[in-house]
């Protein structure tokens, strides 16, 4: 069966976009098109069809992020509150809140900690020795649980190093790795929009993370959307000395989180 032409793809895109101007991620639109047509729509074919619509002024796009398109109808106000310039500037500090939401939501849920256990997330980006090199993860997540029959408790500490679009280099991987001096699992979190030129580094960064047992979480496009977080690699547990972990937690956890973890460890 012949594949749909750019003109047909463009028409389908217009039909699929919400009429109120709500933007749709390129990743999602490509899946919607593939499902509708029953054929794989490659990034190249999609980009071609989108270019046709952009040239005609039928759709708008969120530049910088490069990830979303919306129906551009005269007289219909756009549903976005931020201007494209604002959205394109996803600095680490702007990404922090969204990452915190993801860690406290789906990531935590995925760990499947029993009700009797505890799991806390702490923003540690501004804590720690000012001269200490690579000793300040952006977030840490601490989980504690007791076993049903076995004595003792299991405590796992995850550290997260957040990088904006242009910030992820091999040094970022080593930074995440260095943080496992004090934690069991190191993660690199990278905001990498779909059409970003930085995508060219993805394979290298993935391989570096894999080699060092560092987890890699990619944030596609809009960090507001929880669906845009993808775990590309799971980290490998490091045999970090309990004394190093203990000292680290003592300095980083706030009192409430300390109490929660202690209660879970003591089975209270």
């Amino acid at each position: 069966m012949p594949k749909a032409t750019s003109a047909i793809l463009a028409e389908r895109i217009l039909g699929l976009l919400p009429s109120d101007g709500t933007p749709v991620l390129n990743r999602v639109m490509r899946v919607m098109l593939s499902r509708e047509l029953g054929e794989t729509v490659t990034e190249e074919r999609y980009a071609e069809a989108r270019s046709v619509l952009l040239a005609k002024g039928r759709i708008g796009r969120l530049r910088g992020q490069g990830g979303q398109i919306f129906l551009d109808k005269p007289g219909v106000p756009c549903q976005r509150s931020e201007s494209p310039e604002e959205i394109s500037a996803w600095s680490e500090s702007k990404l922090m809140t969204h990452l915190g939401r993801y860690l406290n939501g789906p990531f935590k849920k995925g760990l499947d900690i029993p009700k009797s256990g505890a799991c806390v997330v702490e923003d540690t980006s501004k804590m720690g020795p000012s001269r200490g090199r690579w000793a300040r993860p952006d977030y840490i997540l601490v989980s504690a649980m007791r076993f049903e029959f076995m004595p003792g408790a299991q405590v796992d500490v995850h550290s997260f190093e957040l990088k904006a679009e242009t910030g992820a280099t091999d040094l970022a991987v080593y930074e995440a790795l260095a943080q496992t001096r004090f934690t069991h699992f190191g993660h690199l979190v990278w905001h990498l929009p779909e059409r970003s030129p930085a995508q060219a580094r993805l394979q290298e960064i993935t391989e570096q993370c894999d080699e060092h047992g560092i987890g890699l979480i990619r944030i596609y496009d809009d960090p507001n959307d929880i669906e845009n977080y993808e775990v590309i690699l799971d980290p490998v547990r490091k045999a970090t000395l309990p004394s190093a972990v203990d000292g680290f937690l003592e300095l980083r956890l706030n009192q409430s989180h300390r109490d929660q973890i202690k209660r879970a460890i003591n089975g209270e």
Partner: protein, 296 residues
Amino acid sequence: MSGKVIAVANMKGGVGKTATVVGLAETLAASGRTVLVIDLDAQANASICIAGDAMLTDLIRRQCTFESFLNDFLHKRSTISFDNCIRSNVSNVTHLGNQLPLSLLASGPALRDLELKLVYVLTRKRMSWEQIVEALWGLMKIQLQRSRKSFDLVVIDCAPGISILTEVSIRLADLIIVPTIPDFLSTFGLEAFCINMWERGLNGKTKAPKHLPHVLATRCRQINIHRDTIGVLREEAKGAKAPFRMFATTIPETIAIADALGKIEKYPPFSSKWTPAVVTILTDLATEIQGTLNGN
């Protein structure tokens, strides 16, 4: 490509057949394999979980389902082809930015009635149960021989109980997976079911299945009865004359799986849909299955 066929079957309902089919199919697809899911359960749960409500409604309306094909064949109309009922690019899930390479041969609620009608019509023509199964198996084999070339794996979701379509699926399969909750009632009759399936495979013109049925412990909880039952099943599976083998991987009872199956209206990345913990388990299972199919 000539896709290996995996049938997921059990007499008992509610043991996690559909969850196994959907989770396994998406995991295999995320690892780059092209996968076809054939839904032979009239409840159409696998079809809904993979294609979503709206697309399934459309497929039923346009008569692009297995029962439409079967009905057409029964009436000797030859207007609906098997291949045309296979819907490609059905998945709403992405992995590394791309849609999962998943296709679906959906079923609908009319399948159960059609199966009964089939038995009624053919027994009136003095065909025995075995002959009906044989005939349907022949039909499916010819259709699948053509279609499976486009896929690395074909996963069949069988309806609970023993039906003609389940028997046909078992005969077609390179590997039969029997999901089972590791408790007394769920495993009651498991051995008989496995022996029965194995013997059915030996009937007629078919060769003996290459692999014994493989039991997969599902919906496992950290309770004694589950741990003990898994232990007993593992011991049984080790025997030289064991009627089944057992996967090392077990599927836990977790809310993440129930949540994942309900994500039909969104477009989640694969690892977000299943959560990292479940993805690890499903990947282990997929690796074991590949190993079994490769004869390791």
